[in-house]
């Protein structure tokens, strides 16, 4: 049997070598290929079709794009009373639901020097303060895309830009958690891949909204159905005046953002406290004392802070405050103090609880103690 055993041994060695040469050990691999995270996009693009006195105006019209410096919704340098214009703005939101807001900021409103007739009509002449922003009237509406204000289209809040101070911004919600101006949408965000239209008309003079409104489903633009604008009541005070404004549209993702509003109401986070000091009766045999002979303090637990009579302290953290005073006359006189109005009288001090947005007053009434 020796030969057999030898053969098996040989087999074993050869076998081991062969295994070593092919696969080292048993194994298995499972691959999941092509795992993908791709971000969506919120990209607003705008086109504008503009008419000036009923004629198509190339300079303020453009096809769909991201706006750059020099894309103006209005850019008119020689306005006369009675001039009017109409723009239809198309807002394109790419494939995602989004909210939309419009922000209009008045950036300048100037006289640009004065002409003789301007000086005659502008009395008193307000150098550097133009009148144009008060005299160009705007209407905005949710348009169906045909450049005509129709009876079923909703007018947006508007007026003159003169209602704004320089640098002030008026925000108009187009679609946010509180609503949506377009009749084809439910309240809330614009569906992705949609185009919505804003009609905008202006008139240098009195804009007759009723006469500028046409029947439902009218088509053709302001070259056929004009804005009715009366400049006959304008005077020379606006001559050479100019105004500039920034108009921007914001698109904001709606997912995870259900409560979004274009104009968030700012919640106060701080409170105001005023200490009011009154001295009623003093000892007639002593020299008079004044309010300045008392130091006043408020303290929310972080140490007393000196305050002054009838001067409101703003920006206070909502908290429980104690109000105290010390007499600094240094002549041994003593005064009884009563804490009132919003303060709770605690004998020698007052306490008051301030909540965010509160504007409270603590009155200290002193009566001199006499023996």
């Amino acid at each position: 049997m020796k030969k057999i055993l030898l053969s098996i041994a040989t087999l074993g060695i050869v076998g081991a070598v062969v295994i070593g040469g092919t696969t080292a050990i048993f194994s298995d691999t499972e691959v999941s290929t092509g795992n993908t995270f791709t971000a969506g996009a919120i990209d607003l693009q705008i086109d504008n079709e503009s008419y000036y006195n009923g004629e198509f105006n190339q300079e303020t019209s453009w096809i769909q794009k991201d706006l750059v410096e020099g894309d103006w919704f209005f850019h008119f340098e020689d306005l006369k009373p009675g001039d009017w214009g109409e723009d239809t703005i198309s807002l394109h939101v790419n494939n995602n639901d989004s909210y939309l807001c419009a922000d209009v900021t008045l950036t300048s409103n100037q006289d640009n020097g004065s002409t003789e007739p301007e000086l005659n009509d502008e009395d008193p002449y307000t150098a550097g303060e133009g009148e144009l922003a008060d005299n160009v009237h705007f209407i905005w509406w949710a348009d169906d895309g045909d450049n005509v204000l129709e009876s079923d289209e909703e007018l947006l809040p508007a007026g003159t830009l003169g209602a704004l101070g320089i640098g002030q911004t008026a925000t108009v919600p187009l679609a946010d958690a509180n609503g949506n101006i377009w009749p084809e949408d439910e309240d809330g965000p614009l569906p992705g891949d949609s185009t919505r239209y804003i009609g905008k008309a202006w008139c240098f003079g009195a804009l007759d909204v009723n006469a500028s409104t046409y029947a439902q489903d009218s088509d053709s633009g302001p070259d056929v159905r004009p804005i009715v604008c009366d400049g006959s009541q304008e005077d020379n005070s606006t001559q050479t005046d100019s105004m500039t404004a920034d108009i921007s549209f914001r698109a904001v993702q709606s997912r995870h953002n259900e409560q979004f509003v274009c104009k968030p109401e700012t919640q106060p986070t701080t409170a105001t406290l005023t200490v009011d000091k009154v001295i009623t009766i003093t000892d007639p045999n002593q020299p008079p004392v004044s309010i300045n002979d008392f130091d006043l303090f408020i303290d929310d637990g972080g140490g007393p802070v000196q305050v002054f009579d009838e001067i409101a302290v703003t920006g206070l953290n909502p908290d429980d405050y104690t109000v105290t005073e010390t007499y600094t006359g240094g002549d041994g006189r003593t005064f009884d103090a009563t804490f009132g109005i919003n303060c709770v009288d605690q004998g020698t001090f007052g306490t008051v609880t301030l909540a965010a947005g509160d504007n409270l007053t603590c009155r200290i009434i002193n009566v001199e103690t006499t023996d």
Partner: protein
């Protein structure tokens, strides 16, 4: 192979001669029949359950809201999804743990992956191989954001998704350390939190804690050995080799092996924070996720590690 064949032939010939030589005499033959060498198997199967923004992927029923998820739903209820499948081998390009084409800041999701090694103990590792990290296209707001960051934006440029996507990983072992639910002889399992895809901070340590892809470690052995050290090393009922009849600490071994016939659950949560900026718009990150197992026995240095 020639030498082997030769040896076998010799063996057969010798046997024949021996048989030929016994016929003529009294004798006895004792036979041991059925001597067997069967190779063991190391086979890995994987299943996955996908969750996204409070919705669960239920195979053919698509995305469905989970308890407590409020409208509006995104993804929409019933829209198709492909991140959930039952225990199987993975097919190229078919099973994807993650397949999200329209992420927004504030999106989050989770994938519960279960790994099952059949019959034999094995070492495991997890490999992430990125295949694409690109800007894809450059939208207007993305261009503005990348200009501000002084990065390049455009087709073929480096994407920002991988820097903004955060992963948290945990061993979804439930309230009893180890894995009790993979017992082939019992369908019941008394650990209701095991594989429930919810991170229970008290019982389930994380191995990734809000980390971006670049920072992830991939060695399953470290994860399992860590869990053994934390939950089992001081427990007299636990077993250092991880075999504990599906009782406490079953599947957790001191050396971090994957114990055969145990179903391991891993929770992988991801999050694109709400603060993420426009530079991520339309960016794409694609990766292959590979799970590898090698036999444990006679293999002290798996995966070519020295």
């Amino acid at each position: 192979m020639k030498k082997i064949l030769l040896s076998v032939a010799t063996l057969a010939a010798v046997g024949a001669i021996v048989a030929g030589g016994t016929v003529a005499f009294y004798g006895d033959v004792e036979t041991s029949t059925g001597n067997t060498f069967t190779a063991g198997s190391i086979e890995l199967k994987v299943d996955s359950t996908s969750h996204y923004n409070g919705m669960i992927c239920e195979g053919g029923a698509g995305w469905q809201p989970e308890e407590g998820t409020e409208q509006p739903y995104y993804p929409e209820q019933g829209s198709p999804c492909d991140g959930t499948w039952s225990e199987s081998n993975l097919t190229d390009g078919v099973q994807k743990f993650f397949n999200f084409s329209d992420l927004k800041p504030g999106d989050y999701g989770e994938d519960t992956i279960s790994l099952h090694v059949y019959d034999n103990d094995a070492w495991g590792q997890f490999v992430i191989t990125p295949t694409s990290d690109s800007d894809n296209t450059c939208t207007g707001p993305e261009q503005d954001a990348e200009d501000a960051n002084e990065t390049l934006c455009g087709e073929g440029e480096d994407g920002e998704m991988d820097e903004n996507l955060y992963f948290t990983g945990w061993l979804d072992q439930g309230s009893t350390p180890g894995f009790q639910c993979g017992n082939p002889n019992s369908t019941s399992c008394n650990d209701i939190y095991e594989g429930d895809n919810v991170y229970q901070e008290r019982y389930e340590g994380t191995f990734w804690d809000n980390e971006t892809i670049g920072d992830l470690t991939h060695n399953i052995g470290d994860v399992l050995a860590g869990a053994y050290g934390r939950y089992c090393a001081d427990n007299p009922s636990a077993s250092a080799d991880g075999h504990n009849d599906y009782g406490i600490c079953h599947g957790l071994a001191a050396d971090g092996r994957m114990v055969g016939s145990t179903t391991y659950y891993f929770g992988l949560a991801w999050d694109l924070p709400l603060e993420t900026g426009n530079e991520v718009q339309s960016d794409e990150y694609i990766a292959d996720l590979t799970f590898e197992v090698e036999q444990h026995r006679n293999n002290p240095n798996p995966f070519g590690d020295e």
